[in-house]
């Protein structure tokens, strides 16, 4: 009898589950709530909202998207009103002639969520406090460049810089994040701002904290009643009354949740998961309405080489390895074809097609490599087209036919696999072939250990596995090695030969390359064994490059000369092949229109990057409208 009763109990519990539906949110009207994946997962330290401290609590929990604000935003895509947006600032930054002083005008009528007015004092406090506390995130950056910061009036801030810096405003310009403005009236009351948890946060963004999980699995934000006193109000009222940022679990669980309409935005999942969603849920779509769905983030995954390890210091070897890669196979293996490939050292995203790819195309077609024995033109401009053709039989109408659409979705050209040329290049570098195996100049086998991130970045891991396989087939003893938790610190420590990672990240919407390129200057290069600061992870040293960087430093952010210098960098990088560019970082952000519409998309309204951990996604909220419920 007891058993029967137990069985009945279990059965009733099941029914309970059925009625309540898995993973619901209680006490919130679903049609006024948007549920978004927080890719940081479960937050270890959930009650920590002091976003100015290094790696303490969550930041893409909605905190930086909905609660924070700073002077300017640059969009990775087109932007609502152009790429550049003056957010807390009323205007663009004003530099003096030699870039030693920057003046900022601030907006009027902005208030913190507790009703206190936002003023220039907050900006000054933000800079001064962090200079005093170098363990705060932007403390070191401010300390290195700011001599003095003053507020001549309530809405003006003047930065006196230690040395000329035409890019100082970048610290306050959001690309994913930037230096957020601190509420002076809160922080000045605490003794030690580095030990203050800022709970509950006083926000300057359009939302305020509603509640959060003490175990760090979810955060719920509520639209401020005084949202009109925030910078975003210029574009209208944010749609959702509530926004929940949740940890939905591993990729398959995310797909299940969206199939059940319990997760409006998936941050990222596997390509296979996306195919399932597209097939089974008509209301789900990605950045591209059809294949490849994913949003190309302005980051350039590449094969990184450690130039301080022989033989990777040789451009011949690097070029040979590039010519052994069949990018079509890599695209298939990693993204199942849903990759946007790039042959050059900038990501093929945002407006970069217009800025760099289209102008470079002719140069690339005519580019020649000389192996000493013969000359080759390695660039194949039709690779993107070929990938599209390859996918068309299985994907049908999803694949665009228009050449421009294909270029946007799948990329343009890439290097044609050319084992002959690769062999000639290796031979020139002193390599020999014995039987099936390539030997290094010192007579030992040519071995490559290709570091990948494992399940922290499955798609990249899949790409690495494919590339290692292609090298293996040529007679190089290549193996991937997964190193999931400590990947970039390890790469920066110099303890690697080759890796699938990235050292190129750009604004996406803005052509200026200093965001990553400045750190590639040889003045920052560390000797072998010492830790290399980001982002010259390949430890490339080139006097030519140094010259380009120095020139960029002297011109303004919006100076059209910047783009020309950028092209110089690209040409140099093609000749030297310091890293082998592969593709953009495509994020499979999937949006469900069951409760909300108005998400950005590539074809009709690319107004912002939808990838939800980007702080820029705050622009999405004013575009979101409740779906018409049947």
């Amino acid at each position: 009898m007891r058993i029967m009763r137990a069985l009945m109990f279990i059965a009733s519990a099941w029914l309970m589950g059925q009625s309540a539906l898995a993973q619901g949110i209680s006490n919130l009207p679903r049609e006024q709530t948007i549920i978004i994946e927080n890719p940081q997962g479960t937050i270890t330290n959930p009650s920590w909202f002091n976003i100015w401290m290094v790696a303490r609590g969550g930041n893409s929990t909605g905190l930086q998207q909905l609660g924070m604000d700073t002077l300017w935003y640059i969009d990775a895509d087109a932007g609502i009103d152009g790429v550049w947006d003056n957010s807390l600032a009323a205007d663009k930054p004003q530099y003096n002639a030699d870039f030693t002083e920057m003046t900022v005008k601030l907006r009027d009528g902005i208030t913190w969520s507790d009703g206190v007015e936002f003023t220039a004092d907050d900006v000054v406090y933000t800079v001064e406090t962090q200079i005093k506390n170098p363990s705060m995130i932007w403390g070191a950056a401010f300390g290195a460049s700011v001599d003095k910061v003053t507020a001549p009036d309530k809405h003006t801030v003047v930065f006196k810089l230690k040395r000329p810096n035409s890019r100082f405003h970048a610290t306050f310009t959001v690309r994913w994040n930037a230096a957020w403005i601190m509420p002076k009236h809160i922080f000045e009351k605490v003794k030690d701002p580095t030990k203050f948890d800022f709970n509950p946060p006083v926000t300057i963004g359009p939302y305020k904290l509603h509640s959060f999980d003490p175990n760090g699995k979810w955060y719920i934000w509520e639209k401020r009643e005084d949202w009109q006193h925030t910078s975003i109000a210029r574009y209208g009222e944010p749609g959702p009354k509530y926004a929940a940022y949740i940890d939905p679990g591993p990729p398959d669980k995310r797909v299940i949740l969206q199939l059940n309409h319990q997760l409006d935005i998936i941050h990222d999942t596997s390509p296979e998961g996306v195919f399932t969603l597209v097939k089974q849920s008509p209301s789900s779509h990605g950045w591209f309405k059809g294949f490849p769905y994913a949003h190309p983030d302005p980051t350039l995954p590449a094969v990184l080489f450690n130039h301080q390890v022989k033989p990777f210091d040789s451009p011949d070897v690097r070029w040979a390895l590039a010519l052994l890669i069949d990018i079509k196979a890599v695209s298939m293996a990693s993204y199942r074809g849903a990759a946007t490939i790039s042959a050059i050292g900038v990501p093929p995203t945002g407006l970069y097609g217009k800025y760099y790819f289209d102008p470079m195309e002719d140069w690339l077609k005519n580019f020649e490599i000389d192996t000493g024995k013969s000359k080759y033109k390695p660039y194949d401009p039709t690779v993107g087209q070929q990938i599209a053709d390859m996918l068309r039989p299985s994907m049908g109408d999803q694949i665009p036919t228009d050449a421009k659409a294909i270029a946007n979705a799948f990329g343009r050209g890439w290097w044609k696999p050319n084992p002959e040329a690769a062999a000639e290049l290796l031979e020139r570098a002193g390599f020999t072939k014995q039987g099936d195996q390539w030997m290094k100049p010192d007579g030992t086998r040519f071995k490559i250990t290709l570091l990948v991130e494992g399940d922290q970045r499955p798609v990249m891991t899949r790409a690495g596995t494919m590339i290692a396989q292609e090298w293996r087939q040529f007679g190089i003893d290549a193996q991937t090695q997964a190193y999931p938790s400590d990947f970039f610190p390890r790469i920066e420590s110099g303890d690697y030969e080759a890796a699938i990672g990235w050292s190129v990240e750009t604004w996406g919407g803005h052509p200026d390359l200093s965001f990553f390129l400045d750190s590639w200057h040889s003045e920052f290069l560390k000797p072998r064994g010492e830790r290399q600061p980001p982002r010259n992870r390949q430890r490339w040293k080139s006097p030519e490059l140094d010259k380009i960087i120095e020139q960029i430093r002297t011109i303004g952010f919006d100076d059209p000369k910047g783009q020309e210098l950028g092209k110089e960098y690209i040409k140099l990088a093609v000749r030297e092949m310091p890293i082998i560019p592969l593709m953009s970082y495509n994020v499979f952000t999937m949006m469900d229109t069951t409760y909300w519409t108005g998400y950005p998309n590539a074809e009709t309204d690319p107004y912002t990057d939808p990838v939800p951990n980007w702080a820029n996604t705050k622009y999405m909220f004013v575009k979101l409208k409740p779906a018409k419920r049947q």
Binding site: S26, A140, H210, N215
Partner: protein, 333 residues
């Protein structure tokens, strides 16, 4: 009474020894890791945002100071034990400056709740049914149950949990497959309790299924042996009520080895709980441990490992101490 005191002291000594050895192993291993929490923290900043090379240098120095990573190895070891004596594991490195103990306290109730409930259910139901199966050896239903238990018993927790996840989360999605309770639920009252129970069904079920099989089989074979003991035969000859024989004679005597078994397998059961938590995204020590490992937060890893060793050893100690109540012979032996 003196014998009991002696017994108590020897058990206590065993407890202290286990905890000491275990924590030392954990300390040694965590401090051999190549992962540097400072670099992890810096990397999390530079991954997306801006990063000027000068700034990284300054930040590295500041963080090193802040985390208190200075000091020689023996000094750090002594500090560790001094702190531990007051129940303090120092600050977490991935959630600095929150103390490790705070993080553990947040996670512990979930793990303990899940673990205690499922272990007790598995133990009681498994032993009860196993006892019946050993006593009524010809009952078809119990025989069938034996086959099921036998097939479940060798399968590791992960596989069972994984199958449950697929069946009830995907093929027939009726149960929550992640989290400990519904989001934003009022954290008191019946609804909260119901939500917790609902969310714990799958993780608990996987623990119960595997655990029950082992208890079932163990109890069945114990009972089949005890049935041939003189006192059982004698009680049968004495016409003692059959239910009384089953419970007071057979099961009651088989219980003591099963209690010992429970104590010995607590470590393994704890492993199972960790794995189950990871599979079902349950907010306990297991998921905290995995996150700590991936964040390179060795003070948190060390804290969780130490707490789990202490908890398991303490649970065993408690079982050992109450054991004489179950079997009055122990203290004398």
């Amino acid at each position: 009474m003196r014998t009991y005191a002696l017994y108590f002291v020897s058990r206590l000594a065993q407890f202290v020894l286990v905890v000491f050895i275990g924590i030392n192993v954990a300390y040694l291993i965590t401090h051999l890791t190549p992962i540097d929490p400072v670099e992890q923290a810096i990397s999390s900043v530079t991954m997306f945002g801006q990063s000027s090379p000068e700034m990284v240098e300054v930040m590295r120095k500041a963080l090193r100071e802040l985390y208190g990573l200075e000091g020689s190895a023996p000094q750090q070891y002594v500090t560790f034990w001094k702190r531990l004596a007051t129940g303090d594991f120092g600050p977490s490195l991935s959630a600095f400056p929150t103390p490790v103990s705070t993080l553990i306290w947040q996670a512990l109730p979930w793990t303990v709740g899940l673990l205690v409930c499922s272990t007790l259910i598995a133990w009681m139901v498994g032993n009860f049914l196993g006892g019946l199966a050993g006593y009524y050896r010809r009952n078809i239903l119990l025989k069938a149950l034996g086959i099921v238990a036998m097939s479940l018993q060798p399968i590791p927790y992960y596989i069972v949990a994984f199958i449950l996840l697929i069946v009830f989360g995907f093929l027939w999605p009726v149960l929550p497959i992640s989290g400990g309770a519904e989001m934003n639920i009022d954290r008191q009252g019946f609804a909260f309790a119901a939500s917790i129970i609902q969310h714990s069904i799958l993780p608990a079920l996987s623990l119960v299924l595997v655990g029950m099989g082992a208890w079932f089989i163990g109890m069945r074979s114990l009972v089949s042996n005890i049935v041939t003991e003189d006192y059982v035969t004698y009680a049968e000859l004495g016409g003692v009520d059959r239910r009384r024989i089953l419970f007071s004679y057979v099961m009651r005597n088989a219980l003591s080895p099963q209690v010992t078994g429970l104590a010995l397998s607590l470590g393994a059961i704890f492993n199972g709980a960790i794995i189950t938590e990871v599979v079902f995204g349950y907010p306990g020590l297991g998921t905290l441990l995995v996150r700590a490992v991936n964040a390179g937060d060795y003070s948190l890893v060390l804290g969780i490992t130490s707490v789990s060793i202490i908890a398991v050893a303490a649970a065993i100690l408690v079982i050992d101490i109450i054991y004489p109540l179950l079997d009055p012979r122990v203290v004398q032996g």
